[in-house]
């Protein structure tokens, strides 16, 4: 785990992420400016850093209702604004980027942040980036596999010679600047089903698994498939970390959490998927067996420890702003994480 800058004996890592959500606030019916949203995210990263959280991540989504398309630029501001917290993408849509530029950006971020940068490479669950940036979504799978291969090669070799279908060949190329200690942690972003988890295992890449809701046990299949694939490819499962992600909202008690968050979740789903979130399903979500991270701090702790038993993962990433959650609530969430959730989770998962 050391090459991924994770020490499991320090307990389960807790990170926050945003994909730059920019929907309107259902309580006010209005939408803040993109400028304000971006500044608030940088502000949130400072709070998370001061509160002792482990990771802060920003992802890209190239369409309406999002603001952090240029996520690496924002991560640069966050690198400057923070001191200790790790900085990652959540995710970088590698399929529509040049791996060389991605590596240059994150190596630079690593230098700005004094060795805190990580790449989470994904294919994008929304396909807006493809037509916008000149890629054919029919190459969805091949684009990503080829580019991830190249990105991993850039991370291990000093002089890179490479040839592929979607990018000009490299001949003995040096990628500059290099990250602080020569390597970056590079994760593969994986959706629910096991197919992509298996690919991460075959390549021996850490897995960031989305567990956006429904029974947590449904995702165990992907965790197992990943570890099996690692073993088949000759990797040590103890050396490769797993992270999970989910939508997150907590308040002093579960009823407040449900009441405050439901309109955001419902509106966000309506905007992004064309259908709201059923109340019946949402009412079930506070059960400790459901993966959606919603509830009182105590319920969140129970969910996290249950999942820790289930998956044996090393990091949990919370999406803190889905559906236009305003900054004062984000700040309140960070406070509850820092004062109530994190101490309990660390206490039960720290091994020394």
């Amino acid at each position: 785990m050391k090459q991924y800058r994770i020490d499991p004996s320090n307990g389960l890592e807790f990170g926050l992420y945003s994909i730059g959500d920019h929907t309107l606030n259902p309580f006010t019916g209005s939408r803040i400016s993109a400028e304000q949203r971006i500044h608030e995210l940088i502000e949130a990263s400072k709070l998370a850093d001061e509160a002792g959280l482990d990771v802060f991540a920003v992802g890209e989504s190239h369409q309406t209702y999002f603001t952090t398309q240029a996520h690496t630029v924002i991560l640069g501001a966050i690198a400057q604004a923070t001191k200790r917290i790790k900085i990652a993408s959540s995710a970088t849509v590698l399929s529509t980027s040049d791996p060389v530029r991605v590596y240059e950006d994150f190596a630079t971020l690593d230098l700005i942040s004094n060795g805190r940068a990580e790449i989470v490479a994904g294919r994008g669950s929304r396909v807006g980036a493809y037509s916008l940036l000149g890629y054919d979504v029919r190459d969805y799978e091949e684009l990503f596999e080829e580019k991830l291969e190249l990105l991993l090669k850039l991370n291990t070799e000093e002089k890179v010679t490479w040839e592929g279908q979607f990018r000009a060949p490299l001949e003995n190329a040096s990628i500059l600047p290099q990250p602080q200690n020569g390597h970056l942690p590079i994760w593969r972003a994986v959706g629910g089903p096991p197919a992509s988890a298996i690919k991460a295992g075959i390549a021996g890449v850490p897995m960031m698994l989305t567990t956006l809701g429904g029974p947590a046990i449904n995702f165990k299949g992907s965790v197992e498939a990943y570890r099996e694939a690692l073993e088949r490819s000759g990797f040590d499962t103890k050396e490769l970390p797993i992270a999970t992600t989910s939508l997150f909202y907590t308040a002093e008690n579960s009823q407040d959490a449900l009441r405050e968050y439901y309109p955001h979740l419902n509106l966000g789903m309506q905007a992004l998927r064309g259908g709201g979130y059923p109340k019946q399903q949402f009412a079930q979500a506070i059960d400790y067996r459901d993966a959606l991270m919603i509830g009182s701090p105590q319920q969140i702790i129970e969910k996290m420890l249950y999942q820790y038993e289930l998956y044996g993962h090393q990091r949990f990433m919370a999406e803190i702003d889905f559906g236009g959650v305003p900054f004062d609530k984000i700040a309140k969430n960070i406070e509850l994480i820092a004062t109530e959730i994190l101490p309990a989770v660390k206490k039960f998962t720290t091994k020394n």
Binding site: R259, F282, A283
Partner: protein, 188 residues
Amino acid sequence: MKIVGLSGSKVGSKTRTAMNYTFKSMSEKYPDAELTLIDLAEFDVQFSDGRNYWEYEGDTKYVSETIMAADAIIIGTPVFQASIPGTLKNIFDLLPVNAFRDKVISMLVTAGTPKHYLMVEQQLKPILAYMKAQIVQTYVFIEEKDFHRKEITNDDVLFRIERLVEDTVVLTDTYKLIRKAKEAEYDF
């Protein structure tokens, strides 16, 4: 209450004729209902290419958004090769998996032979159930011999159409009440 009629084929006139009867009965019996009839023969709907339904343009966008905004949908379909027409299947393919959650769907079918009677049970209902529709279980099955020159001549079919109209509205109202009462319990 928004009710959309969806006549699912570009071929022939019998399904459309049956839909006209159905909508006439509906407008007489429920003058307050907001009725929209979509006859796929009159629209140029493109094949689903994986986009979100609201990201299409023109007829494709209009048809899919109108269906998504409905409280109830009455689907009229002929039988093609022992199944529904591709035009109708394409409408389902354009929509998200849970598109019919909280919607009531009823059906009428036109067919050349009684041998197709179970097509709805085997082909259409599984799709609607997968997409979370509240299905009006009894459908109207109309054979070629029930038509004469764009009129329905079988009284049994006419009575059945009236019952289908009533069942569609009654179930839509009922489910709405049940849902409201249940959601009021949640307190969020």
